[in-house]
């Protein structure tokens, strides 16, 4: 891209330039006047050199005449130009160099005056933006559209003397901004701290002076004090939050040793923890707490606590607030002792209860339905928001041509501080640069047809292996679950009850085992395939793992909702929701136990083995993608289970807390950073997207299906006796309508909007349209970026042209001065 400006008139570009829309005579004449003015201003003693000036102008115009006339002596011109083409030779005059080095684009961050100037302009823009938007017509037309509309005067490059006044004007601007804007501006300025605090002091002093000068009414003085107090509170709240940072020291240690890649796993874990915390707070406050305070009357045959409950979740736990079955289906009243159970009072006749203290009533079924729905809704919003934010940070619209430049400048990971890790990282970057240079220098070697076929075959084989193993495992799970289902149907009473409970753990154990072993097989297949580009390999691995987990979860959902829920009587279940909730608890727990085992065997023992037996010096690598997918799988289970087990988020929180410490110690002891380059932002975006789309969407589809179509059990839970869980909301609306006929509109709206599937289609249609518009906007931005790049190139050309002309003029001055001196010396 480094092009020299070519003044060869026969060159097509120059001809094209001369055929520009503006009349060339006009352009050149006005320009020559400008140069004439410039050289005139430069001369301090005007009298003696007046003739010289005229001579100069003539010569200047003469030279320019060479340009304007077409039928001129090309050779002479070229000779002249070659002599003084500053881009060919290195003979920049000192003035030109000074001009170049003091240009704003070169002095950002270096010259204090330039920074103050730049921030003066920014504060001006901010003030204007906050106050009113000036119309673009107010600004003078300029050939440079880049400065039009920015409020910049044409002569914004001030001489040093004007620096002080610029500073005063900046202080003035700062004073007129709001406090938060001012603080933001101050913090973002690349000046030294001493200067910033000087600016701040002068701003505050000025403010105090103007305030004490004028007569302020006491209410705005009060407002001022309130603002100061609020700011102090805000700072102390920030301090508190910062000190509360969870795991800050641990994360710093991990990132210091392994870099941002491994850190992203732990940050993802922290994000999941916050999601679960939110879920737990919502369900805990609105479901668990009211029900715990008003315990229902329990049936007599309550099992005693044995240790197995912690594993199976059944037994003693089945009749606790942990599961769906415990929750009442009537309105809870405060200070009301309903001794005869009241379990048979359904919602529609709720008011027949003898307690009339209805101002503290709590409609449990409605609450259950709405709280679960609201929790999912808000989780969806938070997920989509964080996904779009992460996407915005990592998605780059234009294709990156400058890979090498990026690698040189941007591959250093500043978080790493441990010596060995730093050495490893610099080796890694060195290797990458060498590879890139080799690629750049070498010609691309095309594979022969034979080689291409061979590669295709290898890829096909690997994919066939993966798909076959996945299908085999899924099929196996399907039949095993069927087998277990039938086993429970037979209900052999001579079986030991403990054994019966333990056999419930068989399916979760199998599924977790499959989840553990199959990714190893996928890794083997990938090793066989030997991808050239490591990022493609990572994506393929993630795709295969995802395929496995999605199919496993689909089969399990079918088993629970299609088999168990459809016909609960066949396995002597009075409360199928309890059973499903317990199943999910068991799955979550088994997942955790198998992760523990994997950490122990996969990382700890493998390191031992490879060091002592295989005598390898390198420790095993921490597979970030696989671990994150395991976290996503666990979170999907938690989301599936919230409807049946409102306390499942608490279990998940405990699990994540323990997992953090276990994984951290394992990583520090046994692993080393991944050797492949890991693009953190992109991977984080992918993981959040995976969390949102297959994981959360799948869970919410399951839950919605359960609420909409599946019949709840008749003898337990808050929705007993209703046809579907959704009926709870409908009944409430009907009751409202009955109590207050004016709200029939609401009932009708509810009937049309929520029950009608058309509403969902319309909603989905609007969503798709919005996505389409956004993609068009992105396309447009891409076009604008390429146009702007062209413009930058053109402006670079302009700059070179101007500098060349200045150089030329300076040369003229110098030679004429020399001539004058030689003439003088001759006399």
């Amino acid at each position: 891209m480094a092009r020299n400006v070519n003044f060869d008139l026969n060159h097509p570009l120059v001809e094209a330039g001369l055929e520009s829309p503006a009349d060339e005579d006009v352009v050149h004449n006005s320009f020559s006047e400008l140069i004439a003015e410039q050289s005139q201003n430069g001369l301090s003693d005007a009298f003696e050199l007046q003739e010289l000036q005229n001579e100069l102008d003539e010569e200047g115009r003469d030279n320019l005449a060479y340009l304007t006339g077409r039928g001129l002596n090309d050779r002479e011109w070229e000779d002249d130009e070659r002599q003084t083409d500053p881009l060919v030779g290195e003979r920049w005059s000192s003035d030109t160099l000074k001009v170049l080095s003091s240009m704003p684009s070169r002095t950002i961050g270096r010259s204090r005056g330039a920074i103050i100037s730049q921030y003066y302009n920014r504060t001006m823009q901010l003030r204007r933006r906050r106050q009113s938007r000036p119309s673009i017509r107010d600004f003078s037309h300029s050939a440079r559209p880049s400065i039009r509309g920015y409020g910049m005067e044409a002569d914004c490059i001030d001489a040093e003397g004007a620096g002080a006044s610029k500073r005063e004007r900046l202080v003035n601007n700062l004073q007129n901004l709001s406090v938060s804007d001012r603080i933001r501006m101050l913090r973002a300025m690349p000046l030294s701290l001493a200067e910033k605090s000087e600016l701040r002091t002068s701003t505050l002093q000025k403010e105090r002076r103007t305030r004490s000068g004028s007569q302020i009414p006491c209410c705005s003085q009060l407002k001022y004090y309130i603002i100061i107090a609020v700011r102090q509170c805000w700072y102390s709240w920030l301090s508190f939050l910062h000190s509360l940072q969870l795991w800050q020291v641990a994360l710093k240690r991990v990132s210091g040793r392994f870099g941002t890649g491994v850190l992203s796993y732990f940050l993802f874990l922290k994000t999941l923890l916050f999601f679960n915390l939110f879920l737990f707070l919502v369900t805990g406050a609105f479901l668990v707490l009211p029900q715990a305070v008003h315990p229902p009357v329990l049936s007599a045959d309550r099992q005693s606590f044995s240790g197995l409950e912690l594993l199976t979740g059944a037994g003693y736990f089945s009749d606790t607030v942990m599961y769906y079955g415990y929750y009442c289906n009537y309105t809870l009243h405060r200070s009301c002792r309903d001794d005869d159970g009241g379990q048979n009072i359904s919602v529609s006749t709720g008011t027949t209860s003898s307690c009339l203290s209805s101002h503290h009533s709590y409609n449990m079924p409605l609450a259950y339905f709405f709280i679960i729905g609201a929790a999912f809704f808000f989780t969806c919003i938070i997920l989509v928001y964080s996904m779009s934010k992460s996407f915005g940070q990592s998605f780059r619209i234009d294709k990156s041509h400058s890979i090498l430049a990026m690698k040189v400048f941007c591959s250093w990971d500043f978080k790493v501080i441990k010596k060995t890790s730093v050495k490893l990282m610099s080796e890694k970057i060195c290797t990458q640069l060498k590879e890139l240079l080799a690629e750049v220098n070498q010609k691309y070697v095309k594979n022969t047809v034979c080689q291409q076929l061979w590669r295709l075959m290898v890829h096909g084989l690997a994919w066939a292996i993966c798909i076959a193993s996945t299908s085999a495992c899924v099929y196996g799970i399907y039949h095993f679950s069927d087998f277990m289902h039938q086993q429970q149907q037979q209900a052999l009473t001579n079986k030991h009850p403990m054994l019966k409970e333990a056999s419930l753990l068989a399916l979760p154990a199998l599924v977790s085992l499959i989840n553990l072993l199959l990714p190893g097989l996928f890794n083997l297949a990938a090793w066989m395939e030997d991808y050239e580009s490591p990022s493609v390999g990572t994506y393929v691995a993630i795709g295969r793992n995802l395929m496995l987990k999605v199919s496993v979860l689909c089969v399990l959902c079918y088993h629970w909702l299609g088999r168990v829920a459809a016909d609960p009587k066949s396995i002597n279940l009075t409360c199928w929701e309890n059973f499903v909730g317990q199943e999910l608890y068991r799955f979550l727990l088994m997942d955790f136990i198998f992760i523990l085992l994997d950490t122990l065997f996969g990382e700890f023992l493998w390191r031992f083995f490879s060091e002592k037996v295989l005598k390898r010096r390198r420790k095993p690598v921490f597979d970030i993608a696989r671990n994150v997918l395991e976290l996503i799988y666990g979170q999907t289970l938690a989301w599936l289970g919230v409807l049946f087990t409102p306390l499942l988020p608490a279990v998940q929180i405990l699990k994540l807390l323990l997992l953090f410490y276990i994984k951290k110690s394992s990583v520090m002891m046994n692993c080393q950073a991944p050797r492949k380059p890991y693009r953190v932002s992109q991977m984080t975006t992918i993981f959040i997207t995976l969390l949102c789309f297959p994981s959360f969407l799948g869970a919410s589809v399951c839950v919605t299906y359960t609420m909409w179509s599946i019949t709840p059990s008749t003898s337990c839970g808050p929705f007993r006796g209703l046809k579907t869980m959704f009926q709870a909301g409908k009944r409430w609306v009907e009751q409202l309508e009955r109590d207050n006929p004016n709200l029939s509109v609401l009932a009708r709206a509810h009937a049309y909007l929520v029950e009608n599937p058309l509403f969902l289609f319309v909603g989905a249609g609007i969503f798709l349209i919005v996505i389409y518009f956004h993609s068009q906007v992105v396309d447009g931005q891409r076009k604008i970026i390429s146009l702007l790049q062209e413009q930058i190139e053109n402006e670079g050309e302009d700059k070179k042209f101007l500098i060349t002309r200045l150089q030329h003029i300076h040369e003229q001055k110098r030679t004429s001065k020399r001539r004058l001196k030689s003439q003088d010396s001759n006399y």
Binding site: M1, A2, R3, S105, R106, I108, G109, R110, R187, A188, P190, S192, L193, K196, S197, R200, T201, Q232, Y235, S236, L238, S239, H242, S243, T260, Q393, S394, R396, D398, S400, H401, S402, I403, L404, A405, M406, V408, F409, C410, S411, W412, D413, F414, V416, I417, K419, S421, V422, S426, L437, V440, R679, V680, S681, Q789, I792, E793, G796, K799, K800
Partner: protein, 161 residues
């Protein structure tokens, strides 16, 4: 707030809070770190703004900077005299810019300063430089200005995290 600290006046702390990305506690902690680099040089009382500078060699030994190959350049670009001697203000400034809360644009300006004046000699490295400038230079003047640099690192979202 009832803090019994006597190191800074309240006004000084307010000024620090407004001009950097740190909270009160963090500034006091930073002063602790600065003090422990040279306990006999650094006074505990900063209310009358003593003029105390620590040399490059001491600062560069901090565990956060020790293994960083750019450590000398980093400290030099924040020092006023260009030799790496940092007063407490410059020390706080450096950590404020390097902290996670500083915006990318600010970090980019300093990163440009740090990278900008490298003198590199070996041949392979020269080739890399040539190709780099070729790729990254947008307005074709054979130099990398700050705008070129900013454009390039905007494409690398992992940088300067």
């Amino acid at each position: 707030m009832g803090n019994k600290q006597t190191i800074f006046t309240d006004e000084q702390l307010d000024a620090y809070q407004d001009c950097t990305f740190f909270t009160r506690k963090e500034i006091l902690r930073l002063h602790g770190r600065y003090h422990e680099l040279a306990p006999h040089l650094v006074p505990m009382d900063y209310t009358n703004e003593p003029d105390c500078k620590l040399p490059l060699a001491l600062i560069v030994n901090m565990p956060e900077l020790k293994e960083n190959p750019f450590r000398n350049r980093i400290v030099e670009s924040f020092s006023e005299d260009g030799m790496g001697n940092l007063s407490f203000n410059e020390f706080v400034d450096m950590f404020s810019v390097l902290s996670e809360m500083a915006p990318r644009e600010l970090k980019a300006i300093y990163a440009f300063k740090i990278y900008g004046n490298e003198e590199l000699t070996p041949e392979e490295v020269e080739l890399v430089c040539e190709k780099t400038i070729e790729e990254a230079d947008l307005d074709g003047d054979n130099k990398l200005s700050f705008a070129d640099f900013e454009n390039m690192i905007s494409r690398a979202p992992d940088f300067l995290r």
